[in-house]
Each structure stands twice: as C-alpha cells, then as structure tokens.
Symmetry: C2
Subunit: 402 residues, 2 copies
C-alpha cells in the first residue's frame, strides 16, 4: 500500500511553497521598533557621516611634518595655542607650523592640522607640548565621509535589522523606517485526540502541543500567529474554520492530527476548496506534508508529530516566509561541527537528524519523531542530502541551530 505515490523532492516542495508566497507588503514604523524586522527599502546615506573630520583619540592636533623624528629622548616641542570644544567647529582655531591644539576624542580637526598625536605620547610643560613620537599624516583622524559617504547604500532592502543596525539608522537620522509587514499566519489544529492545553487529557487524548510550538516559532520569526483552536475531524466544521482563517490570514497552517484519516481529510478539504500542489515530501521526518492553495493563499498540512512539524516549518515553510518578508538572506544560524556518531539514512529522501553539540562535536539524538524530549535535549539539526546513504562519524557537518 503506497500512500505517497508522487512524493515530491524537498527542492520541489520548497519551490512550490515559494511560488505561492505573496509579495512583501511594506509599512513605515518608528525606527526604534524595527529591530528584527526586514527592510522594505534601501537605506541611503543622505549626508556624509560623520560629516566632519574628527579625532578618534584625546590628544593634540598637529602638522605631522612637525613631529618627524620625535622620540622619548628628543621630543618635538610644539606651542599649544588652543583647545577644541566638543560639538563646535571654531574657525578661529588653526594649527600652524610649530603649534598644536588640544583636541578631545570626537572633536573637529582644526584647520591646518593633518594628524592627532595621542595625549599618552606627550608631556606638557606650561603651553609647550613635548611630542615623544612622530605622527603619520592622517593618523588618528576619522575623515568626514569615512563611515558612510553621501549617496551610498548603507543597507539594502531585504536585510533583517540587527541592534547594531539600529545604531546606524540613528546615526543617519532615520527616525522611521519602511519594513515588511509581519504576515499573519493562521494555525488550525485537527485531530480527535487533541485537547486544549488547559484540559487534563482523558484516556487516549493528548494536549495540543504543536499549535503553541508553531505560534512561538512564527512569532520569533517575525510573523503574527493567530490561533483557531482545535477542530474535530468533521469536514463541515473544518471547512467553516478554514474559510474564516483564510479571510483573516495570509497563510494557513493545518497542524495535523497524526492519523492517516486526518491527513486524508486535510488533503480532501484543500482539494475541494482549492488545489493540492504537493502531497507527501521525500523528507524525514516530515513526509506527510501537504502544500496547497485556496483563494490564492498558501495552506499547509503539517505532520502531527512535533519534531516532524518543526522540521517542515524550518525546511519548507520558512522559505515561503522569507519570500513574504522579502528577506534576502535567511537568518538560519549554522555552525560547523564534527559528527560524533555515524548516522544511516535512506537514499532518496532528505533526512534531518537532531544533534546535541558538545565541544564542537555534534552527537546525534536518536528518537522517535513523536517525542518532544528530543527537541529539548538537542541543539539543532544536520541535513543528510537525498543522495546520501548516511554520514560517517568524524565528518564535518553544518548544524542548523535552533
């Protein structure tokens, strides 16, 4: 009995998911609320930054030529003729041959100076500054356009903004930023065995863990999850909830019951209201995945096992979210490690093995995909391509970190 006659490759499943993704929609937000969000426009420097030649140390603005050959034993002697005040540009301050001007870190380089000598390399006797080291031309200066030159692209659209980026946006005067709107993702759980988290399960029942896990992941990824609760295995009730979710959401995830009946119902409901594009993927765990489209919106049937659902989320749903967010580079965190144990794999399907990282060693965490505890004790996944029959202990692997 083969239930997956036309199992899609992972690449085909991902391509199908990306193809039905809608385009990113932009919104403008106060810059302070955009960390983690995806830029919807290029950010261009509207002016030179820092905008003036600054000193990067506390010291004395000098003409480099005046310090040639200076040493501890034979310091160059310069007359200190003034002091740069922070936050002002004083046109009257000029460094001429044989003179210098005290300058704090960040101060405007006075006219005539072409270097700054650190205060640590000087001594002072009244107004005379003893320079004990030669300064090179341009030393300890930050040029007016050295950070960003007017007109250059600081960040391209599609970048996920980091905390450092928040600093750069501020430096550029961006008080508001155009970012991709967070897609709204509906989560509908199906399965007669499921009860809500607040209920003590009766015999044969379990709590709906997947909906919470999916919502937490989606939230972290920059989406807005919307819960539609648990729908019993009745086609009519299911239809009603899906219709509502489709009007309120950009994507709908059907967090499947684990039984074949549930999956069949999911597929038939999608087929009836829209079209099933993929039914079954050459992916382990995650084979019983359905990708479909209703009213031009993506609808996924996810496997019921938590570990399977999680892998499908990362491997197949994520690329669709990236497309909807306009993300250029997926923020998957990976690290290299050495495989601590050989893992077998079945040729013809892409396999994801949970691993625990210990001192650069990735130790496979074997366990049934129905188990939640394997997700808790592992640090990430390694991928075994469909063309492989496994990986040898000692191989260097790329670990996709949770």
């Amino acid at each position: 009995m083969s239930r997956f006659l036309h199992v899609a490759s992972v690449a085909d499943a991902v391509a199908a998911a990306v193809r039905i993704a809608s385009d990113p929609v932009s919104e403008e937000l106060p810059a302070g609320r955009t960390t983690g969000r995806v830029l919807g426009e290029d950010v261009i420097a509207m002016e030179d930054i820092p905008g003036f030649d600054r000193s990067v140390v506390d010291g004395f603005a000098v003409r480099a030529g005046d310090t040639t050959g200076a040493s501890e034993a034979i310091p160059a002697l310069l007359q200190c003729t003034g002091r740069v005040a922070m936050g002002y540009s004083d046109a009257a301050l000029t460094v001429t041959n044989g003179t210098c001007i005290y300058i704090p870190t960040g101060g405007v380089i006075p006219a005539g100076a072409d270097a700054v000598i650190m205060v640590e390399h000087t001594d002072k006797a009244g107004d005379t500054v003893l320079v004990k080291r030669p300064a090179a031309h341009g030393e300890n200066l930050l040029l007016h356009d050295e950070d960003f030159r007017r007109g250059t692209t600081i960040f391209p659209a599609g970048r996920r903004l980091s905390p450092q980026d928040a600093g750069v946006l501020a430096a550029c005067g961006k008080t508001s930023v155009v970012v991709a709107k967070r897609p709204v993702i509906g989560i509908i759980s199906t399965g007669n065995e499921l009860v809500p988290v607040s209920i003590t399960p009766g015999p044969g029942q379990i709590r709906d863990a997947n909906a919470s896990m999916l919502a937490a992941y989606l939230s972290e990824y920059g989406c807005i999850p919307r819960h539609y609760g648990i729908v019993a295995d009745e086609q009519e009730a299911f239809m009603t909830v899906i219709s509502r979710a489709l009007t309120e959401c950009d994507v709908v995830l059907l967090s499947g019951g684990s039984s074949k009946d549930d999956r069949d119902m999911t597929a038939s409901v999608i087929a009836e209201k829209g079209e099933v594009l993929v039914h079954g993927v050459a992916l382990a765990p995650g084979k019983p995945t359905i990708i479909g489209r209703i009213d031009n919106k993506p609808v996924f049937g996810l496997p019921g096992h938590p570990a399977s659902a999680y892998v499908v989320l990362i491997v197949i749903v994520r690329p669709l979210l990236d497309r909807m967010l306009g993300l250029k580079k997926s923020p998957l965190r990976t690290t290299r490690a050495v495989l601590g144990n050989s893992v077998p794999s079945q040729r013809g399907r892409e396999e994801y093995i949970r691993v625990r990282l210990e001192d650069g060693i990735a130790n496979p965490v074997f366990g049934k995909s129905g188990l939640l505890n394997t997700l808790v004790v592992s640090d990430g996944l390694i991928r075994i391509p469909a063309g492989c029959e496994g990986m040898e202990k000692g191989s260097v692997v790329e670990v996709i970190l949770w």
Copy 2:
C-alpha cells in the same frame, strides 16, 4: 601621562559587574508570552507524557510473536477484529493470538498487543491482514512515560525558553509560567557633540547613535530599555537625570561622550553619589569603561565609540544581565572558523576583533572603533586573550556571532 593607572582585567571587571547585580525577580505570565524569557522555576512533569502507550505509525496492533518469520513470500495471516478510534481508549478492543487491530498514528495500543506493524508492510484481503515482515517486541510503540515521566524535571530554572519549549510546556499543561522579570535599564547619553536622531547635526555635532543601539540590544536580550535623552556636560543637570533614572530603573547605562572630559565627569558624578568600582579595563576596544554603584544599583559608564560600547555591552554588561535574569547559560551564539589573516594584539589586554565570515573563514575587519560601518559589515567578534600577542592566520577561532 597615564590616565588608567589601575586598569582592571576583563575577568575582574566582569566579576565586579556580576557582584553588584541584583537577584532575579519573578513574575507569572501566560505561557504563550514566554518564548525568549528565562524560567524562574523548575518545570516538573505532573503526569506521564504521553500518558498512554501510543502507536507512532498507521498500522496494525499485533502480538510480535504472531509475526515471527513473516516475509513477502510467506506472510503471517492475522484476523483484523477492530479499529482503534483516535482520542478514545476502548477497553473492549483486545488483540489475541492470531488477531490484529487497525490503529492510526497516535492511537491507544489495545490490550494484548505489544507491537505495531506499519500499514506499508501489510496487504489486506477482506478481514485478513497479510503481514509481510516480522514485528519486534515494542516496535512502533511510544510508551506512556517515554516522553516525560511524572516527577522529572523537564526544564530547570534559568533556561531561556525556545519555541520548541513552548510546545513542551503546552504538552505538560502549563498555561502560565514563572519567568524572570525583564530588568529595566536606563540609558542616559552625555556629550556636547550629540544631537537627537531627528536633528540635522551642525558643525562638529553628530547624532546619538549609541542610545538607539544599546536600546535595541537590550530589548532583544530580554530587558526593557528606557531612554533619558541627551544630557549636556553640566554636572548638575547630569545629577538630576541620574537620580531620576536610578529611581525608575534597575541599572543605568551612561552612554558616554567620547571625550576625556565627559568620562571624567561621569566618574566624578558616580563617585560623588556612590562609588566607582572599576575605572578603565584592559580591553580593546572598550578601555574607558567605568563600573560603579549608586543607591545599590549598578551604573556603567560606556565608551563613546559605537564599536567600543558594543563590545563592552557584550563582554561586561551581559554577564550582569545574565545574573539579573537568572540565566544559567548565556545565549551567546558562537561558531568555529579559521582565521583568514594574522591579527596582532598587545599583551596584557584582552582584544576583540570584528570579523566577517566567508565559507568558514573569519576575515578580520580592521577599522577604527569610531566607525559604525565595521559593525555592519562584520558578522561577529573573535577574542584574543590578554596573554597573547596576536593570532596567526590559519588558527581555529571561536566567533561570537552578532
């Protein structure tokens, strides 16, 4: 002129910061809002999970002994006497010798059965099931306490909750969770050269980038940043704002002006109202760091250069936050890479070099710490211990990812 006569080692500075951190404070939140938060209590399994012996596949519940020697050529013939319904435990269903019962994934193993044979390994002729493979005792079963046994600690206090953890909490019936309260961190900027982000800087002025960067980092790290704006270099105004911040916040960060005068004022204000514990750290970038305490609350003077401030945040402030959050394991993401270029370092100070990662190679991004663009083009930091005079090209390094 040595301005840092008693420069502290990084280890001493971190120890000082951790010592003045206050204890974590707990709050109880709906479980759905706790991803990324730090557990304030152990989470214990109050019952066995899944709670009953389940099938992990769609198939037939059998007695393994009945399938001994079964093969494609000579299948075992079993009488199918019923069907397990999802979500119920039907005491009337019993597997006896020579019989089997259809069971969906997740169904309750009926009495008498000790294995499940996958539907893929069977054929059916009326009520007779042809089993084409032997089933091992226990095969395809998930035992009632296999995921979590009642009384075991699922998560220890101090764990930062991941999206998968949200699934586990749901499976365990946790609708609310005790987590550490988010510390409130005040940010006060000083420096006459600074103007707010919305203002176009005049000659010698720059926008306050650090406050935005610090706030974004703190927010992501699970704290609540609170802005107090830019205070001019006047001791009295500064005192007033610090006093207000101390009453409203758990920690105060003084995002320094870059000049020595600003740093001196910061140190003298802290000394006047409380005590300076560390003034200057053997850290590059990040030397002009001040750690103090006023009214029993930690107060930091951060360097004015953005890259320096960011390094101090990660290296010195973060351990204090970890302590206040009760975090057992800091969520620093690291990856191993091969150093693409030799980097010199000064013995006696711990040095952090920004690097850009390309195919497993960490290429140093050299640049003045006053530059924001080096933060943007790099992927993280490598650490050169105080005892080293640099690192050779080709060394394996641990990269602290942004």
